[in-house]
């Protein structure tokens, strides 16, 4: 199947981006250098095209209740204008997807889903939902992520709205460079920043306005390569790598997105059971103490035994170390414990460390 293109495809090509197929989308992996783009986001700002992400909307009376029954986190505890990271779980408590749900009001909930799961999630939600039917709005939005310590200053100059009351994981509707947007203080990098949802027709104008406004402050376009190393340094899970249908939030160290006391939701019974029995494996962050770079799929071994697999790994440009994550038996999951990652047939020492890998900076 031919990969799809976002509304910013031409803009990426003009910037000389190297394009790759990601989840069926032709996306920029880098413009100049993954490390330079990573460092721009940590030190100034980066602009990402994340228009491949999908959106599903619930509108009308009972929208919140309908969405909430599909989610592990609790929209009823949010205020209007607040967003929440959540699991969309199956009956076994495994991740159908990890999502961000936006509460505009109890009558309007917008859920941002992963590109790789657009069709699966919508079908899942449509089949299981009680009450308000979801609408697939994925083709109605482009999404740009402006991330980094300079992001709010750059964005503020382009919008009449005061950004300071929009706290982390809150959002508002307004205009940026005259373009109507949902302005959300969220991201996937560990830095302050915003995700902007706008109509696909306006995406290129928004992209160019932001790049121009931020140029003098070190803003640069950033690709999926930097997005991956940035999120890995924060131990943010990537669907399909670190979490999937067979892994639960409790195993992934995401217990905080499970609200067992909120009322019924899909996956609750399985998670209650898992919580009382205890989890057998946990997603840990580790540092390679030997030489090499851990990569997705490499075996994790303890003694002679294969005990797990690396789910994500990279050389962390800011932590300046080879880092990774993977599921290991609970007995091996405590900070300071050692195991080995098998790299090209050789065991290389690794140590479980505190995460996020990147300390407050």
């Amino acid at each position: 199947m031919k990969p799809r293109q976002t509304p910013l495809y031409d803009a990426h090509r003009k910037l000389g981006a190297r394009m790759v197929d990601f989840a069926g989308w032709e996306m920029p992996v880098q413009y100049t250098s993954v490390i330079a783009e990573h460092e721009a986001v940590r030190g100034a700002a980066g602009l990402f095209d994340v228009s491949h992400m999908g959106e599903v909307e619930f509108t009308g009376k009972g929208a919140l209740e309908s969405a909430n029954r599909l989610l592990s986190n609790d929209l009823s505890r949010c205020a209007d204008g607040q967003a929440v990271y959540s699991g969309l779980l199956n009956e076994r408590g495994g991740f159908v997807d990890d999502v961000v749900a936006y509460r505009f009001s109890p009558e309007r909930i917008l859920i941002c889903i992963n590109a790789s799961n657009r069709d699966k999630d919508f079908a899942w939600m449509s089949e299981r939902v009680v009450g308000v039917k979801p609408v697939n709005r994925s083709d109605d939005f482009a999404q740009l992520a402006l991330q980094g310590p300079r992001a709010s200053a750059i964005l503020q100059r382009l919008t009449p709205a005061d950004l300071s009351p929009i706290r982390n994981y809150h959002f508002s509707e307004g205009t940026v460079a005259g373009i109507p947007c949902i302005v959300s203080r969220t991201g996937y990098t560990g830095e302050d920043g915003f995700e902007l949802y706008c109509s696909p027709e306006k995406a290129e104008a928004l992209w160019l306005a932001l790049l121009e406004e931020g140029e003098g402050e070190g803003l640069r376009p950033a690709g999926l390569g930097a997005r991956d190393s940035l999120r890995t340094e924060m131990k943010y899970a990537l669907y399909g790598n670190d979490i999937d249908d067979d892994h639960t939030p409790l195993e992934a160290g995401l217990g905080w997105i499970v609200k067992l006391d909120k009322g019924d939701f899909i996956g609750r019974a399985a998670l209650e059971r898992q919580k009382s029995e205890g989890v057998g494996r946990k997603l840990v962050g580790f540092e390679l103490t030997g030489a090499g770079v851990p990569r997705h799929g490499y075996p994790i071994v303890s003694g002679e035994k294969r005990v797990g697999e690396v789910t994500s790994g990279t050389f962390g440009p800011s932590v300046k170390k080879p880092i990774g994550m993977g599921y290991v038996p609970t007995g091996l999951a405590s900070e300071g414990l050692n195991f080995a990652v098998e790299i090209r047939g050789r065991p290389v020492e690794a140590k479980v460390v505190k995460t996020p890998f990147l300390k407050k900076h």
Binding site: S33, V34, I35, S229, G292, V293, R295, F315, P317, P322
Partner: protein, 130 residues
């Protein structure tokens, strides 16, 4: 500096080889480092080990990918660039000088002459781009 210096010989796997007295210094081309992206790790053979033309002798890893390094000639490794352990990005910054990988004592000194010259290599890179 020319992108493909005339005094070097090249392989289709994008390594270069340079005669220096009795030995041959080996690295990767400027095109190769650009394709790889930021180099974050280089795994090289031990001094004294043997390498065989066309067979991988090491591994180079960028932020994005793991790639094998292919030996342009057969011989014995007499030096490795230890400085790459601490600063692998030298391969990106200076692929033909400071970013060299290994120095080899060739088993057949004539083998290096049979590799591609700069213009043949340049044509190969251009053909690939089209």
């Amino acid at each position: 500096m020319a992108e493909y210096p005339k005094n070097l010989k090249y392989t289709k796997e994008h390594e270069w080889a340079r005669k220096e007295g009795k030995s041959v210094v080996v690295g990767i081309t400027s095109h190769a480092q650009e394709e790889l992206g930021d180099v974050v790790y280089v795994e090289l053979p031990k001094i004294g080990s043997s390498i065989t033309a066309g067979v991988p002798f090491g591994v180079i890893e960028s932020t994005k990918a793991v790639s094998e390094l292919f030996a342009p000639i057969s011989g014995k490794v007499v030096k490795v660039n230890e400085s790459l352990t601490g600063s692998p990005q030298t391969v990106n910054e200076d692929p033909y000088q400071a970013g060299w990988l290994i120095e080899v004592e060739p088993s057949d000194p004539r083998q290096v002459d049979q590799l591609m010259d700069a213009s043949a290599y340049e044509k190969l890179v251009q053909a690939k781009a089209e």
